[in-house]
């Protein structure tokens, strides 16, 4: 079919690209906030920084309805089974963002109580360092995740 025969109001694309585009702009988040980074995260999700621009303004209070798990804060060994279970309850496709030094690597808590990074419990897509990260860094992390979703193969 040559290009002239397609009317102007029809756009062609690949299925992967189309689904990736749709998924990247409807990131409903489940915020697993355990520590002080969660306080910082409040300002990100409220109107000043406005995550609605990325389609990520809708915090779901049930992991079963969410696409993106934000691990915001220190994960202790006592809390680890809870985080694992929350992640297991999420329906595919699911993405995980680790926010803050503690969620990324354990931060300065090198002791018996703290998990040395939440990637020891669940697979993580985007790491956002900082103690706590600036709101701009969290937005940058969300944009990096969107980029990652758009580029990856979409499983249906």
């Amino acid at each position: 079919m040559s290009k002239e025969k397609i009317p102007d109001n029809i756009v062609t694309t690949k299925l992967d690209k189309f689904i990736g585009w749709a998924r990247s702009y409807s990131l409903w988040q489940y915020v697993f906030g355990t520590a002080c980074c969660a306080m910082e995260f409040m300002s990100v999700s409220s109107s000043h920084y406005d995550t609605d621009r990325f389609g990520a303004a809708m915090p779901r209070y049930s992991p079963r309805q969410s696409d993106m798990l934000m691990v915001v804060g220190t994960i202790t060994h006592k809390n680890a089974p809870v985080l694992r279970r929350v992640w297991e309850q999420m329906a595919d496709p699911k993405y995980v963002v680790a926010v803050g030094a503690c969620a990324v690597s354990g931060g300065f808590y090198r002791n018996y109580a703290t998990v040395q990074g939440c990637d020891r419990i669940i697979p993580v897509d985007v790491y956002i360092p900082g103690c706590p990260p600036r709101p701009e860094m969290i937005l940058d992390g969300i944009m990096a995740l969107q980029e990652k979703i758009r580029k990856s193969k979409q499983y249906l």
Binding site: H77, Y112, V115, D119, R120, I121
Partner: protein, 187 residues
């Protein structure tokens, strides 16, 4: 400073009863160091003091006087006798008298293979969680406590992490941990 002297003068009768008690003034508060066998009497005394009844138990803390070398060098000589020393732990009670705005501390020592001390729950119910926390962190058993369980750590945790001979990295995971470098799949 005057108010502390008042309290000390008032405690004079008490020191006649307990010759082993030691009076100190540290950190702007009167402290009484007392052997563990006198604890029951001193709880009665402070709670029902005529002038300054200590009706509020603010906090209970414990101090481990073992040096932290033991965690790093487990084969240090003299380890056994230091570990089971009768004066290894200090237990510190912080009291407050709400009517007269006075504070004081009571310090006592314990140790041995299974450190044990009298529970103050009978006198102050606030001791319930405070003593559980000390059991959780130091392994000091409070005799007479109604429900001595771990309060911060999970029940299957082995050992007492604030003891100086507990290893710094004594992690005890409850679930199998992933290795993020080898295992990049979705599990």
């Amino acid at each position: 400073m005057e108010k502390y002297w008042m309290l000390r003068d008032d405690l004079k009768d008490f020191f006649k009863q307990f010759p082993n008690a030691e009076y100190l003034e540290q950190f702007d508060q009167p402290n009484i160091r007392i052997p563990a066998e006198d604890m029951e009497k001193i709880f009665d005394f402070v709670k029902n003091h005529k002038k300054f009844p200590m009706d509020m138990l603010l906090d209970i803390t414990a101090v481990d006087y073992l040096t932290s070398d033991y965690a790093e060098q487990p084969n240090l000589t003299g380890r056994e006798e230091d570990l089971y020393s009768e004066t290894r732990f200090d237990v510190v009670y912080h009291f407050y008298s709400m009517k007269t705005n006075r504070r004081m501390r009571i310090i006592t020592s314990c140790g041995g293979e299974n450190p044990e001390i009298l529970s103050s729950y009978k006198w102050w119910q606030a001791a319930h969680f405070l003593e559980r926390e000390i059991w959780d962190m130091f392994g000091i058993k409070f005799t007479g406590h109604p429900d001595l369980r771990r309060v911060l750590l999970y029940p299957e945790f082995k050992g007492f992490p604030l003891k100086k001979d507990f290893p710094v990295l004594g992690e005890q995971p409850r679930i199998k941990l992933r290795n993020p470098e080898q295992d990049n799949g979705r599990n």
